[in-house]
């Protein structure tokens, strides 16, 4: 540690004021504060003392994502070659996932740095999380150049255009995914991209295998559970041994990450609870509705506990909806925001056959409404206070 500190102190003058590399100061600052607690003191009041800063928050979120990531790598290895022990299976999945993560971090980091240097501010840590979220919501067969284009789009259009970390309306990782979803639909929808296997020549290639969600929405006039019966059990989906995006398959790993976020106080429990509540209520309603009108639509019959383990619902609820920037900021607003996400997710999944995965669009939709929700919550608070003090 001493050595590192000495190196950093020695090169610091080059990045200050008139130093040779003063334009690259954000880079130096990033390395310095990443390795050591910033020594800056707050100069103006209020002097809140807390050990935690954005960098620690973001690092904790990345730690929370690790179970989902590790399981994702293992799951992909299992699709390629499931004969060996856990460790070799894990290694088999690594060459698929690692490049995606590297591309996401390199491209995103490049844009972050470019904007930090031209706008002369420090490099924000937000990308630490975004760069990990993007690979986790991609199918394993995604071409790397699409990851690069989508990451650029997510960072520039989803975040920097609004002023950078802390100003974005939408979750940048979801913007990146939505970009691929609309720009290159062939690479992120349908049944040919979610699973991976060795082909005859021994190369790794995508194989045709539908995700449980796709399976469940496949045919008219049958109940969703009939369609997935025999292929995937609830526990398969809960543990995550199913085809799907890299990090979203295992609900168990996501719950572990979610508990970590709740325990450290970084993820907001109101948002998660609201999302769950909204989903359960809406699923129950659609079930009743489906039976009442004896609907042809298979997804309307899907019980809530299956909605919970299928597709990206759990992942979105724990990691995407709780993004502190794009979510609602008031406590009541957080409940409403969460319920809106859960509601929209089930509605999109079951009523719009073009989009079997509703979670992404539901969260983006709720992101757009978050400021409005906050506005009305504040208004009602003001009204109450006026009433209280009027007499």
């Amino acid at each position: 540690m001493k050595i590192l500190r000495n190196i950093l102190d020695k090169i610091e003058p080059h990045f200050l004021g008139n130093g040779k590399y003063h334009k690259l100061y954000p880079l130096y600052e990033m390395a310095d504060t990443f390795l050591f607690t910033p020594s800056d003191k707050t100069k103006n009041g209020p002097h809140v003392r807390d050990a935690i800063d954005i960098k620690r928050v973001m690092s904790f979120v990345v730690i929370a994502m690790l179970p989902a990531l590790l399981f994702g790598i293992y799951n992909i290895g299992r699709q390629i070659d499931s004969s060996g022990d856990i460790f070799t299976t894990f290694l088999a999945g690594l060459p698929v996932v690692l490049p995606i993560i590297l591309v996401s971090y390199t491209v995103g980091g490049f844009w972050e740095m470019l904007f930090a240097v031209t706008r002369k501010h420090e490099i924000n840590e937000g990308f630490l999380v975004t760069g990990m979220l993007i690979p986790l919501v991609m199918p394993p067969t995604i071409p790397l150049w699409m990851v690069a284009v989508a990451t650029s789009f997510g960072v520039v259009i989803g975040k920097e255009i609004f002023g950078g970390t802390g100003y974005n309306i939408f979750n940048p990782a979801l913007v990146a995914r939505a970009f691929i979803f609309f720009a290159y639909p062939g690479a992120i929808s349908g049944d040919a991209v979610w699973a991976i296997a060795k082909n005859r020549e021994g190369f790794i290639d995508g194989i045709s295998q539908a995700t449980p969600l796709l399976q469940a929405s496949a045919e008219q006039g049958v109940q969703a559970l009939e369609l997935i019966k025999g292929q995937f059990s609830w526990w398969d989906m809960f543990y995550g041994f199913i085809p799907g995006s890299i990090g979203e398959t295992s609900t168990l790993a996501i719950i572990i990450g979610g508990l970590f976020l709740l325990f450290t106080g970084i993820g907001n429990w109101r948002i998660m609870a609201g999302t769950l509540l909204g989903m359960v209520l809406t699923a129950k309603l659609t079930n009743i509705f489906a039976v009442a009108v004896s609907s042809e639509n298979p997804m309307l019959y899907l019980p809530a506990e299956y909605h919970f383990v299928m597709g990206g619902f759990a992942f979105g609820m724990v990691f995407m909806a709780t993004d502190p920037v794009s979510a609602s900021q008031t406590d009541k607003g957080r409940w409403m925001y969460g319920i809106l996400i859960g509601f929209m997710c089930v509605i999109i999944r079951s009523i719009n056959p073009a989009y079997p995965e509703g979670m992404m669009l539901a969260i983006l939709f709720a992101n757009a409404f978050a400021p409005l929700i906050d506005y009305f919550v504040m208004k009602s608070h003001i009204k109450q206070r006026v009433k209280r003090f009027a007499a």
Partner: protein
């Protein structure tokens, strides 16, 4: 050409561009920019209507009663739009079919009404002519920039001529895939937004 006339023509190109500065005519800018061909034809149609309506209204401006001026302007514009619509149908039937209602909707294009009301009603024949050309070019410039990006990335072509080599495509054994977002209206919105971003970064213009 004197300085003022030059300013009337050049001002709407960048500094006071009807699309990127005044945010007018967005509807057609989103709808007809999928292919460059459409954008160019649309630009010609709009140039014809805008220049003619500016000339006619500036010639009539002393005779138009203030209370009914909008109706009079609309009648002039509508007649011109019907004219150009018929010409396109007669000579460029395919493109006119692709442009569909958007030629007819030139009537409601805010740029034309805006120039008639804000400029042609107060200025003489010559200045209105210049103003009409200036604003049409400003509109056409943005349309062509947007459609260049949309056609190149959305279909891999420019003026229906293949630019991105076919061997690069996934179907031909390559890796490239056309960007489907560019064919949708949000693609135009995003490109338009980026153009406005670049322009405002350079002109340091900030909306109050």
């Amino acid at each position: 050409m004197d300085k003022i006339s030059k300013a009337i023509i050049s001002d709407p190109l960048v500094d006071n561009n009807p699309i990127t500065k005044q945010i007018l005519g967005i509807c057609s800018a989103l709808a007809v920019t999928v292919k460059m061909e459409q954008a160019v034809v649309m630009t010609f149609a709009l140039t014809f209507v805008l220049v003619s309506s500016n000339i006619i209204i500036s010639l009539l401006r002393k005779g138009i009663p203030g209370k009914v001026r909008i109706i009079v302007q609309l009648t002039v514009i509508a007649s011109l739009v019907i004219l150009i619509d018929q010409v396109l149908k007669a000579y460029l039937y395919d493109i006119s079919k692709q442009l569909s209602v958007f030629v007819g909707l030139i009537i409601t294009n805010c740029i034309i009404m805006g120039r008639a009301e804000a400029f042609a009603m107060q200025n003489n024949f010559k200045e209105s002519l210049y103003d009409g050309f200036g604003n049409s070019f400003g509109y056409g410039l943005i349309l062509i920039i947007v459609s260049t990006f949309r056609e190149l990335f959305g279909s891999g072509t420019l003026f229906n001529y293949q630019i991105i080599p076919t061997w690069m495509y996934l179907e031909q054994g390559g890796w490239y895939v056309n960007n489907g977002l560019m064919l949708l209206a949000p693609g135009a919105f995003i490109i338009l937004g980026l153009i406005i971003w670049v322009q405002r970064t350079y002109t340091h213009f900030i909306e109050d």
